[in-house]
């Protein structure tokens, strides 16, 4: 039995998916969390069924790539049951979509989700009347608490093809112009909504609404944004990257894990080369595992926790309102901030999220800016940790440089890349209290993914370094990079290693710089310059491949080439500027 979940954006399809299948797909409080289909299987009363979760759509007439994904699923056939997940408090908009789904003539169940929120607003829906009128089962749920899920599962087996008389009598000719059809459907949805719903008490302003408003007004919204960033810096940069990493690196690994492993290896392994692979200068344990678990794991955990709370609160889409004008200078609109912020979590996933943008030009621009100027969580954490030990001034210089480069490149690229910008139209979800359960599940899912994706690459990278070191390629490459790294950027030769492994993962490269700085081999200017370069540097391998998949080989290679060159160029200019200020003018900029 094949079930497809369909619904307007941000109504909780993924929560229903998780509830039906017992698996976990990313759930957040903003439209566009799901940009591709997820498949899972569930079991109920000895029946097995497969479930497909789809990106949210407001209509089957599609405008963006994520919406097309949904349309493709629906037109592929072989669907036994559609569950239309609807926001109970926004019934009319949901019915507008129902009226389009009816025409597919596929058995359907209408699921009114988030019915707690509609109850809270004093809105009640006569489920029986609605069910009779549409000729299908209508089930109310509160998916996050599991309320009504059992009923929904039962309804799946009774799913019926909806009555089409409601359409035939009013719409008549379905070959009309799309806009006229939509007008007609709107009239039906409107009268149907009025027919089944009643408001029992007047709407009142709630605290969440007030917070929601404050977050989008520049006067209060910008201070709130700065406050959020400061909190993130304190939590991720100071607490996790400082105290957390210290604890893991020095106590857990330094005192227990490494000596214990070294002891075991010393006792049981007598082949020098194997020993060196494991615990040498470029050893899998001493380098790859230490970087992955002691430095980066505490940082990404903190970041994912913080980020999850932001996502589920409904705060992020509010930033689109504040940032729309800034993004317009880069040929984008405020919606582009969503993939950009997601990029702070992981550039690879964010490159996929660029699908929510309407035009091809916008998607290319975002892919470019993601590769260039948006550091991923692990990298960001390491950067924050290192800058945290310098000064707030250094952090601001770093931030300013990155933003300046981003806006300048965005502006320039928007003039070169052909195509148009789409107008800014963004739905803003209500502010909600994040649920600890979901934050925990989400953080765990992301950590699992991090370990699965990053650790093997760390091991691979270390191994490549080890081999290159042994056969002398490392020295040779470092010599080749010498003019750039040493002469242009004034960095020690060893910093080249970090840029080399930065090709595999940027956070790995950043971790390398972290170790160099800790060993006292970098002065303040060098730290700042190297961090700007590694932040702007090429995307990691995974992000590169996703860019190839989404935008094509040619675009991806152009992006990677451009990004590498501009990273070093900006580093060079910054290095000159800082040196001039410090040595010639005697200004203590850092």
């Amino acid at each position: 039995m094949n079930i497809v979940l369909v619904g307007n954006p941000n109504v909780g399809k993924s929560v229903i998916f998780n509830a039906l299948t017992g698996s976990y797909v990313m759930v957040s409080n903003y439209p566009g969390t799901t940009v591709d289909i997820s498949k899972g299987t569930g079991r109920f009363a000895n029946h097995k069924f497969s479930v497909i979760d789809t990106p949210g759509v407001n209509s089957l007439v599609v405008h963006s790539e994520d919406e097309k994904v949904t349309k493709d699923v629906l037109s592929r056939g072989g669907i036994n049951c559609i569950i239309q997940v609807a926001d109970a408090k926004n019934l009319k908009r949901s019915l507008l979509l129902t009226l389009e789904l009816i025409e597919l003539k596929i058995p359907t169940v209408l699921n009114l989700n988030m019915s707690d929120e509609s109850r809270e607003r004093g809105l009640s829906i006569d489920v029986k009347k609605l069910s009779q009128r549409l000729g299908i089962d209508v089930v109310e749920t509160v998916a996050v608490t599991g309320e009504g899920i059992k009923k929904l599962k039962e309804a799946i087996f009774r799913a019926k093809v909806p009555k089409s008389d409601i359409i035939l009598s009013e719409i008549g000719d379905v070959n009309d112009d799309k806009i006229i059809l939509l007008k007609k459907r709107d009239r039906i949805a409107d009268s149907l909504t009025k027919y089944v719903s009643s408001i029992s008490r007047p709407l009142q302003k709630r605290v969440s609404e007030v917070i929601g408003r404050l977050a989008i007004r520049p006067l209060t919204g910008i201070p709130l944004l700065i406050l959020t960033l400061v909190f993130m810096y304190l939590f991720v940069g100071k607490l996790a990257a400082g105290k957390g990493v210290d604890f893991f690196e020095n106590i857990i690994f330094g005192r227990y894990v490494n000596p214990a492993l070294a002891g075991i290896i010393e006792r049981y392994i007598h082949i020098d080369i194997v020993k060196e692979i494991l615990v040498g200068d470029y050893g899998i344990i001493t380098m790859a595992f230490t970087y992955a678990f002691a430095i980066i794991l505490p940082i990404v955990t903190a970041f994912f926790l913080f980020f999850g709370i932001l996502e589920d609160s409904g705060y992020l889409p509010r930033l689109t309102v504040l940032s729309d004008r800034v993004f317009k200078t880069m040929g984008l609109n405020g919606r582009a901030i969503l993939p950009m912020i997601l990029g702070l979590g992981c550039g690879t996933m964010a490159t996929l999220t660029a699908r929510i943008l309407d035009t091809k030009k916008e998607r290319i621009l975002v892919a470019l800016l993601l590769a260039l100027a948006v550091p991923c969580s692990a990298q960001l954490g390491v950067v924050m940790g290192m800058l945290g030990s310098l000064s707030v001034k250094a952090l601001l210089i770093w931030l300013f440089t990155i933003l300046l480069v981003m806006i300048a490149v965005g502006w320039g690229a928007s003039k070169i890349i052909p195509g148009t910008r789409s107008p800014f139209i963004q739905e803003i979800p209500p502010i909600r209290m994040p649920q600890i359960k979901n934050i925990a599940a989400k953080t765990l899912a992301r950590l699992k993914w991090y370990l699965k994706e990053a650790v093997p690459l760390f091991v691979l990278g270390t191994f490549i370094l080890f081999i290159s070191d042994k056969i002398g390629i490392l020295k040779w490459t470092e010599n080749i990079l010498d003019p750039v790294v040493v002469n242009l950027l004034n960095l020690p030769q060893k910093a080249a290693e970090s840029f080399i492994i930065g090709f595999l993962r940027r956070d790995y490269g950043a971790a390398g710089l972290y170790m160099l700085a800790k060993a006292g081999e970098l002065n303040n200017i060098q730290i700042l310059v190297s961090l700007v370069v590694i932040t702007l540097f090429v995307p990691c391998v995974a992000q590169f491949f996703v860019t190839v998949k989404e935008r094509g080989v040619k675009t991806a290679c152009l992006i990677a080439g451009f990004v590498s060159i501009s990273a070093f160029l900006v580093g060079y200019i910054l290095n000159l500027a800082l040196r001039y200020l410090v040595f010639n003018l005697g200004i203590a900029v850092i």
């Binding site: 209509s59 806009i179 408003r213 689109t320 309102v321 504040l322 317009k328 739905e427």
Partner: protein, 217 residues
């Protein structure tokens, strides 16, 4: 159709062809004949409303006055029928066709004012502005205004959405921006934020300028 109506129809056809950048004489002649069932191109030339050579047709300044007037009334009538009476396009064209000829200058101006001096007809073609539009500019606030003119806290009802782009209109409509719907404005800077039923939407100013509303409940 009387003589005056026929001339008006013929001139409006030439105007429309000019908008489409096609001024071919034969084609225009054929189209006029289809409409008024008479070949009156020669009459128009004699009257001095148009100049025509072997393959092109041009409107003279005298003809321009008549043509502009009829086009304006025609398109205002279309706007009135779609926006206020909410007739579908099919039904609309034929009735608009008839009553534009009997609109007096006064009625024309009051329709124009009622609609908020619209700039385009429902098909997206320009409506030539009249005296009333020039007067209204900045002076009077008309009944139907773009959403962009509202202040935070105001509520209004959507009258029509005027956009050149079909997908954009569709997108707005599927988000609930439909004629007849009540909206309230939360803020206007840096972007417009409006509430439509339980949906909160952020829009850029250009879009807010394309949504026409009537103040109040």
């Amino acid at each position: 159709m009387d003589r005056k109506q026929k001339i008006e129809e013929a001139l409006s056809i030439i105007w429309e062809e000019r908008e489409k950048k096609s001024c071919g004489r034969e084609e225009i002649k054929k189209k006029i004949f289809e409409k008024v069932k008479e070949d009156i191109l020669e009459d128009l030339i004699k009257e001095g409303s148009i100049i025509a050579d072997n393959d092109s047709v041009k409107i003279t300044p005298e003809g321009e006055v008549i043509a502009r007037d009829i086009i304006r009334r025609q398109r205002l009538a279309e706007r009135l029928l779609t926006d206020v009476l909410e007739l579908d396009r099919g039904a609309m064209d034929s009735s608009a066709c008839e009553f534009e000829h009997i609109l007096s200058k006064e009625v024309e101006e009051s329709i124009c004012t009622l609609l908020g001096h619209p700039k385009e007809c429902p098909h997206g073609l320009l409506i030539p502005p009249g005296d009333c539009c020039a007067k209204a500019k900045g002076l009077l606030e008309s009944i139907v205004i773009p959403l962009a003119k509202l202040k935070p806290g105001e509520t209004a009802r959507i009258v029509y959405v005027l956009t050149r782009e079909h997908p954009q209109l569709h997108k707005l409509m599927s988000l609930g921006i439909v004629p007849g719907v009540l909206i309230s404005v939360h803020q206007i800077f840096p972007s417009f934020v409006i509430q439509v039923a339980e949906t909160q939407l952020a829009l850029e100013k250009d879009i807010a300028n394309e949504i026409y509303v009537k103040r109040g409940q």
